[in-house]
Subunit: 126 residues, 2 copies
Amino acid sequence: MPKRSAAKRTRTETPSLRGKIWIEIGGRPALTDAGADLLEQLDVCGSVSEAARRLRFSYRRAWMLVDAMNKKWHAPLVTKSIGGERGGGTKLTPLGRIVLRSYRDLQLRLEHLLDRSTEGFIRSTR
Amino acid sequence: MPKRSAAKRTRTETPSLRGKIWIEIGGRPALTDAGADLLEQLDVCGSVSEAARRLRFSYRRAWMLVDAMNKKWHAPLVTKSIGGERGGGTKLTPLGRIVLRSYRDLQLRLEHLLDRSTEGFIRSTR
C-alpha cells in the first residue's frame, strides 16, 4: 500500500484562486493592469518611450494607451510638458496618482482575499 | 455661472470598480464564470442539453467544458449515469458541489470588496 505522502505527490497539482480587477467608465475599461503598469513606469521615468521600453510595449501602444486613458476620465491622468530646462517630460496628474494608488490598493485587497480563502478552499476540495 | 449640479450632470459617467475570479490548476483555468454557470444549471436541471440551452451554449461547447473540468480536477465534478428509471442524467459530484459553492462564495466576497471600495474611490477621484 503506498504511503499517504507518496500518493499526494502523484496527485494533480493544487488548485489556486486567481482574480483580477479593472475600472470601467461608461461600461468600457478605463484602467486595466497594462494601464496601471504604464502609469507606474511613467511616474518613475517621466518618459513614454522609456516606460514603453521597460514594459516591452511598442511606443505606439504606450501612446495609444495614455491617450485612451486621458480621454476616458473626466480629466487627464497624464500630461506632457514641452521644452523647459530638462526638455519636457511626461508626468502623472494628481488624478493620475490617485487613480493608480487606488487601483494598486484594490489589487492588494484582492490578493489578501484570495490568500485568505485559499487554505480553506484547498482543504474543502481534498 | 453654471450651478454645481448642472456641471455634474454633463460630466463623464462615474467610474465603477470591476473584478473577476477564477480557479487554476497547473497554471491553466480549471473553473471560470462559464464553468460555474454550467455546473449550476446542471445541478438544477440534470441534463447537459437543457443546461446548454438555458445558457445559450452549443451542446458541443457544454460537453467540452464538462469534459475539460472533469479532466482538470483530481476527481470529476460531473458524472453521467446511463439508463435507470428516469433515463439517466447528469449530476454534480460532491466535489463538484464544493467547488461550485466555494467559487460562488468567493465571487460574493469579491463583490463585497468592490462595493465597499467604490464610494471612497469615487470620492477620491472627484
